[in-house]
Symmetry: C2
Subunit: 419 residues, 2 copies
């Protein structure tokens, strides 16, 4: 069997498993998840041994420290992975819930009911914990999952997938409900994305390069998260203390994540006092700043010039670009043009400005007087998230269990026909 045929077989097996998964009760699915957690717990040493193989290979291959850190399954991360599975058992199962229900004048009853999507492909990079996290959310929602992890984590992913399968099987998880692509051949990603009719959805989790590679080949729907170029706009009517607190949190608390900000926009009416203040503050926090002409004129110290490319760069680092805008619409235009439609905030005490901002900024999450760092499934109260969508179709923003479902209409009659 060549790769193409193997992938088709994998798709067929997943499709079959998905039909069986759709019949499992919530109670049964929770028992399966608990058995998975038990299996990981009982095999911590073996997992860490496999992980060490990946770490050694990574060191030999010269992976940088950040990558090696992502790869490593420490005791604490294993704890988190196992606890994460148990947390998901406590969440409400959306499958089978009615979204709405109505009766037509002719007496037919129409129910719009949540059902699993079917087969979901997850394509990810170096973090092996995605293997468990994503699988658990898919199984909880009765979706079969095909996993494709990064090649640097292959040993970790293989043992994790195997243990999840074994644990689940003890409580009746259908065969092939969880499949990991064993080859690290890049062609497999392409094949996976083209399994139309077998795979219902691809969720790539990784950097922009991965996402582009997936969308270039995809014939299956993809829910994407390109990047997080997020903004805070400090309005003319902002409380400067609040603005400073929000900017610090949004930039410095964890600069390497997608909901951290990359650009700060400041209304020109408040700029003469606010720009020197925030520049001093951020420099003391170790943030490297880049400014447009107006910003640079307002401060004494030298500052790097922000170029056109800066406005659309996701630094993922303690770097921030600053611009002064003549009025709120210029801020909105900047955000809609250069941003990634992820998370953007206005700091303002003025209700009209707040309304204008939330209405006109075309982003998944729009904040009034709060940090963009809240864009996260747990912070939103979803319990868990499979990712954050910067797409507009099907799901936008943090994706929890509901976003892993679709719906069907169930129509019940007593012999009604159309006139």
């Amino acid at each position: 069997m060549n790769l193409h045929e193997e992938m088709i077989q994998m798709g067929d097996q997943a499709l079959k498993a998905s039909r069986e998964l759709a019949l499992l009760s919530s109670r049964k699915k929770n028992a399966i998840l608990e058995a998975m957690a038990d299996e990981l717990e009982a095999n911590r040493a073996a997992i860490q041994q496999a992980n060490q193989k990946d770490m050694e290979a990574g060191r030999k291959a010269g992976l940088n420290d950040a990558l090696l850190d992502r790869l490593e399954l420490t005791d604490k991360r294993l704890d988190g992975m196992i606890k994460g599975i148990l947390n998901v058992t406590a969440l409400e199962d959306p499958v089978g819930k009615d979204i709405s229900r109505w009766i037509r004048p002719n007496g037919i009853e129409i129910r719009k009911t949540r059902v699993p999507i079917g087969v979901i492909g997850i394509i990810y990079e170096s973090r092996p914990n995605v293997t468990a996290d994503a699988t658990v959310l898919c199984i909880k929602t009765s979706n079969a999952v095909i996993l494709r992890g990064g090649k640097e984590a292959i040993h970790s992913n293989q043992i994790l997938a195997r243990l999840l399968q074994l644990g689940g099987a003890k409580k009746g998880l259908p065969d092939y409900a969880i499949q990991l692509i064993q080859t690290t051949d890049r062609e497999a990603v392409k094949e996976l994305c083209q399994l139309e009719g077998r795979v219902d959805l691809i969720i790539p989790r990784g950097g922009e390069g991965l996402i582009r590679a997936v969308t270039d080949h995809a014939r299956v729907p993809v829910i994407k998260h390109y990047k997080g170029v997020c903004h805070v706009y400090v309005d003319e009517h902002a409380d400067p203390d609040m603005a400073e607190r929000i900017i610090e949190n949004a930039k410095c608390q964890r600069p390497g994540v997608c909901n951290a900000i990359e650009t700060l926009l400041i209304h020109e009416a408040i700029a003469p006092t606010f720009v020197p203040r925030i520049v001093d503050f951020l420099e003391r926090k170790g943030v490297k700043l880049k400014g447009d002409e107006a910003v640079r004129r307002m401060i004494l110290q030298p500052m790097e010039h922000a170029t056109e490319a800066d406005w659309e760069t996701e630094y993922l680092d303690l770097v921030l670009s600053l611009s002064v805008v003549p009025e709120i619409h210029a801020a909105i235009e900047h955000i809609n043009r250069y941003g990634s439609h992820h998370s953007d905030a206005i700091v303002s005490e003025n209700e009209a400005a707040q309304k204008t901002f939330v209405k006109e900024v075309d982003s998944a999450t729009v904040y009034i007087n709060a940090s963009t760092r809240f864009t996260d499934g747990s912070e939103f109260g979803m319990g868990a998230e499979i990712g954050i969508s910067t797409d507009k179709l099907h799901a936008r923003g943090p994706m929890g269990l509901e976003e892993l479902t679709t719906y069907k209409y169930i129509i019940t009659g007593e012999g009604q026909i159309r006139e």
Copy 2:
């Protein structure tokens, strides 16, 4: 400017218009729709003159009667088109409605609010009334629309699009909110489907060939309706009179539509009495029948053999294939395997069989004791539909106004930051 540049410009114009459309109130949008209806009403003669050009060209080009019929804008169809616009004004505008709203323990308020999708491309075939129908639904939901109709309807589409623009402009419709691709060059379809970042969604409306052509090129999300291979399954516990009534309606009332059935599945326990009865009945109704071995053995008259290809064919005609199945799961497997996941019905008085059927049949709409012909936005009470989705992502089944929206999260705080 070459075609590629022209299409990019069109996309940019649509994007700009979509931002302006998002700011219009429901009242304003309804005034725009009414002005569009008035404009069509005032120019009926000119519309029909343009339509006659298309009809003449169609006759010369040797279009068959069915195609010429689809193309023609009779008085009655113009009435329907204008009345359809006014009907949409009466529908509730989903834009701006909260889907849900909650407050987190830290005090931030999260609102999940319906917003327009943005820019929608509609690709359709010979029926010029789609120009008005689709445009009106897009404008009602504050989406800019790029229309690409069939070349045989180009004169009709041009005048309709122009009148809709003119009428709307009288009440403040933004420029470029409605754009019709003027060239009939097939390359334009390809270009349209690749306007990532400018076009948010493509809805193709037409035959399977058109849909395939669109999905082959698409880089923009597409909501598809491949075909309608729908089924009625007559269960062991069916009321035979009800089954006959439903089958007649589902096959004969309008055989050329997507929610008409193509295959009838019959439980073997009821087959010996039901098969001869329904075969006689349908033959009297002029339906051409094809049967599997079991069916052919149960009747005296000769019947064409249903081949593997028949099970997946959308006849769109008074043709029906019949199969006897040993039990309900065989029926479900047949439907999931050969069907198009559109509309499928069980006729049964048995509750367990009904439940099994609706749970396991993987279709957009699943019926218990009712005709599949109800899969339709109006019949569902949506007021209007832009199409029927056989996809699972974003929208499934009949798509009304809500399905032309997405959502954004609006988070309101008082300076909250993430701990």
